[in-house]
Symmetry: C2
């Protein structure tokens, strides 16, 4: 399995380690070692560049522990659950729907329980009898403070931290739609028994953008920029009919209704731009639409950006139209208004009836209460105006039947400048850890070089942790001093380099191939004569000589893609 080979290299070279390995590790928890952490940081920073600088979204940071109310409102308390069943004999727990997947496609508790009974399904571990099917909430639960009454949960997504801040955020964005808010941070999912290594984590990093849009208009102002981008789509219709993915540009996909809105289309394209930009191979990428039964409780439409790994198709990003589900849910639970007053392009003129109380009638009749009665009458709704004789009003505790003669009705036209709406939310949600793993798997290559196996991690220069190795050919003859000078030159220019003078030069190249350092600079005897060094490119293993004076600029150019290695030395 390639997965095992990737993990072997990742562990040996300091990319990924099982957490608390000295205590036997725990499924679902992984550490990013020194090189893995840099790789992850680089991916996160490229993400920030795209969404913060490129799209103009602001980032916020909310806690990972949140109060129960928020998740009661969001639906996670009821819906973020798995069905589990325990073996009565060995006590092992299983995801119940996994056990029945060969005999039926039930997903309800009762349905799954029935399938287990009908088909006499037993414990896959020991053959024992299975207990009752029950629901298990996938949020980690804790208590806040010394009395154990205040329940807190580790957030299952960063999104809710943004939704509960919506009133504050709206003010920050000066009450104008659309606007986007992002968050990168830890999220948690208390998996029953995660068995897919780094792909299924109990603690993971999400990078999420919540984009609040006017529900009446999901066109995107910059749609033209991505209209011609071709996506490999796997719409639910094609899945249900057993057909293949289709390749289509965003414009046509929106026109044909395959992608439901420009906004959704724009963000699918942006996801593809990001993933291929950091190094996910385009030919292994597709967007698969969720079938109805797969969709999260909050989503009206959802597409997964999936990549083909050794383990199969794996979701890297989910792009969902969450509609107004979350904001309405929080408004209802908290009593706080989550609406936005959106202005029309130009005011609309509407006609309506207005009531004018006749004070000359009301005065004598109600005396000192006349003003109060008039006030109540003026606030009658249009519907009530049609049947004035049947209406009653309450004034000062008394119920009074309205006499149509008390008022005059007049038809007026009024300018309306806008209306109150609850925004819809478009959400791309990136699983950063999976992207990092996918990069490793896509990058790892084995090849034979001069009769020896070469392991090389072909990470794109912009995400490679160590950007350049600096090696004296030999650890003597004054080469070390020169190499160290070159090394410090590069460091000062903000390049992450690694100096190494141990072992043979061949061994040092191999090691740097394995950690994916895209370039290596070697100081040799010729350097002492003409002040030149060689730059070796990892992938082609070709070397060219350049002057020390320009080497830092050249390396920076190579890393940013502004200089092509092939163009050097010509």
């Amino acid at each position: 399995m390639k997965y095992e080979r990737v993990i072997e290299l990742a562990k040996r070279r300091g990319f990924l380690w099982s957490s608390s390995e000295i205590y036997g590790a725990t499924a679902g928890f992984w550490d990013f070692g020194p090189l893995g952490a840099i790789l992850k940081r680089r991916v996160e920073n490229l993400w920030r560049e795209l969404y913060i600088i490129g799209e103009g979204f602001f980032e916020i940071e909310s806690p990972t522990v949140s109060v129960e109310d928020a998740f009661a409102a969001s639906g996670h308390l009821d819906c973020f659950v798995d069905l589990i069943v325990e073996c009565k004999k060995c006590g092992e727990m299983f995801k119940a729907d996994h056990l029945v997947q060969d005999v039926g496609s039930e997903s309800t508790r009762a349905g799954v329980a029935k399938l287990i009974k009908t088909h006499d399904i037993r414990c896959p571990e020991c053959g024992g009898e299975l207990g009752d099917v029950r629901t298990f909430n996938l949020m980690f639960r804790t208590t806040i403070g010394p009395s154990s009454e205040r329940i807190g949960y580790l957030r299952p997504e960063t999104a809710q931290g943004i939704f509960v801040d919506f009133p504050r955020l709206l003010r920050f964005y000066r009450d104008r739609l659309p606007f986007g808010v992002v968050q990168i941070g830890k999220a948690y999912r208390n998996e029953i028994s995660p068995r897919q290594g780094v792909i299924r984590l109990r603690e993971f990093t999400l990078a999420e953008a919540e984009i609040f849009v006017d529900p009446r208009d999901k066109s995107h102002p910059r749609f033209d920029e991505i209209a011609d981008v071709v996506l490999r789509l796997y719409p639910k219709k094609e899945q249900l009919r057993g057909k293949n993915e289709i390749e289509i540009n965003v414009k046509d996909a929106v026109k044909k209704g395959i992608i439901p809105s420009q906004f959704m289309g724009y963000h699918l394209a942006l996801v593809q731009l990001f993933l291929t930009g950091v190094g996910i191979r385009p030919e292994t990428l597709r967007f698969r639409q969720h079938k109805k039964e797969e969709r999260a409780h909050y989503a009206a439409d959802c597409w997964d950006a999936e990549t083909l790994l050794d383990l199969g198709w794996v979701e890297l990003v989910g792009i969902a139209d969450r509609t107004d589900y979350d904001l309405k849910a929080h408004a209802k639970k908290s009593g706080v208004d989550m609406g936005v007053f959106v202005l029309y392009d130009k005011p609309k003129v509407i006609e309506r009836l207005r009531i004018k109380p006749k004070m000359d009638v009301l005065g004598p009749k109600f005396k000192e209460e006349a003003a109060k009665v008039a006030d109540v009458l003026m606030r009658l709704r249009p519907r009530q105006l049609n049947e004035l004789g049947k209406e009653t009003i309450k004034v000062g505790g008394k119920t009074i039947r309205v006499d149509p003669k008390w008022v005059e009705c007049e038809r007026i036209s009024e300018e309306v400048h806008g209306e109150r709406v609850v925004p819809h939310v478009i959400e791309p949600s990136y699983g950063i850890d999976r992207i990092v793993y996918a990069l490793l798997e896509h990058s790892l290559a084995e090849e034979m070089v001069e009769g020896e196996k070469r392991l090389v991690l072909r990470l794109p220069p912009k995400v490679a942790p160590i950007q350049v190795g600096v090696f004296p050919l030999l650890a003597r003859d004054g080469l070390v001093e020169v190499a160290k000078r070159v090394a410090s030159l590069l460091s000062k220019d903000g390049i992450l380099m690694e100096y190494d003078d141990s072992g043979t030069i061949g061994r040092r190249y191999r090691r740097h191939d394995e950690i994916g350092a895209p370039f290596a600079i070697t100081v040799d005897h010729q350097t002492l004569e003409d002040n030149t060094v060689t730059i070796r490119e990892r992938d082609s293993m070709k070397q060219i000589r350049v002057s020390i004076d320009g080497v830092s600029d050249i390396i920076r150019g190579l890393l940013s893609g502004k200089i092509q290695f092939e163009m050097l030395g010509r």
Copy 2:
């Protein structure tokens, strides 16, 4: 109180918000709003620059949820506790030692309980009788997986994630000391009832460096670079004697034994460099040494970098010598070796006794067991050689008294190349959230300008969230188009700018003063004539005119400190 004024501004402008405010908020949890999150990111990135690029330490990322074993070993399960007491009448919980601090300085459970009884201390809320004093562990507790037997804790510090990875890290650093490993991430402390706003959080961000050093040699290779740095120290002796802080350079402080080692001294200086660099005012900074009873269970020596805030002296960074406490504790609990074989500069020659069994004696006496006996004899330790006649050995279940005639002793000299040590750990641990708050408090100024109150956040340019405002003087006459062109110019160069054309120019300047944007560019009618704009400096409110062509370079120079505003336009 200045604290309230800072928080008012921070909330209104999007720096800090109470978390889940719409659900009534929860003490100890705060959000970083759009501007606060950028400020925090900038502080973190400057920290990374110093420790990762500057010191050459690598970062790792371990989960926030950890298994019980790790914290059983680290001592947090037993020692990371507060004493609490509950009011029997109203049910409110209190930190027990806080309640008795006016009548005595007890810190043990029994001692505090006795003080409460003797002095008849009652509930500060309702006057009710207090219950038993008990310990409360400050780690948030959760369970991993569906059976509730696997206990997990939210980490109280990021350090333990580094310590449990020590064997892996040592291999990554190719078995050589000293080396440093850093981690920036969330940590948690389930406070009893946090009452100090953003200063005492239940969830916070730590930036920690764990530096593994040879315990026999705590000199620092780059000590000279910081030897002359003057620190304001408050050693425990001065505190106990009621004296003031002393100002002393690092070299003298180490020489006099006030700071116990060069390594500790180097890192105190580095902390000062960082804090003053991001904008903590030097005159409000001191290093206070922990008195014995304050020290954490793992620390042999600890200094707090404190800053004077409205709330009093507040710890921003703790710098501890954790010795080999943690590594030894994990080695003991896990059974995994945490030692390092350190080479001597040159091999040492040591003399020792070697035992040579006389096979001609042992052979006839022990027959087929002679070889086994000889083997055991050869492994006797030097101490035992001196009293050979009193020693017994065990061979094949039998206990045999050693006869000195069975062996010859010879004195040999041996080359020893090094020895096995367990590293000591020097740890600077930064509370990032507190630093961000302190920056806000130190930066906020109120002044009268032309008869009006001006609120201005004097954040240093390198941490200011919005780096420059771009304003057309009026939203007409073609000024908007030019201003937008300038804005996009700056954006492309990676400057975080904010374009604004709403309201009067004065109002826009005020708003940008409040969010601490150090510069503002204004496009006016003269711009249309001569292609120049004005740059306004936040602090002096002075304006100078520059050409649009150079404006992005100038702004970048001003932000990095390479250009001084006063030097412009001369």
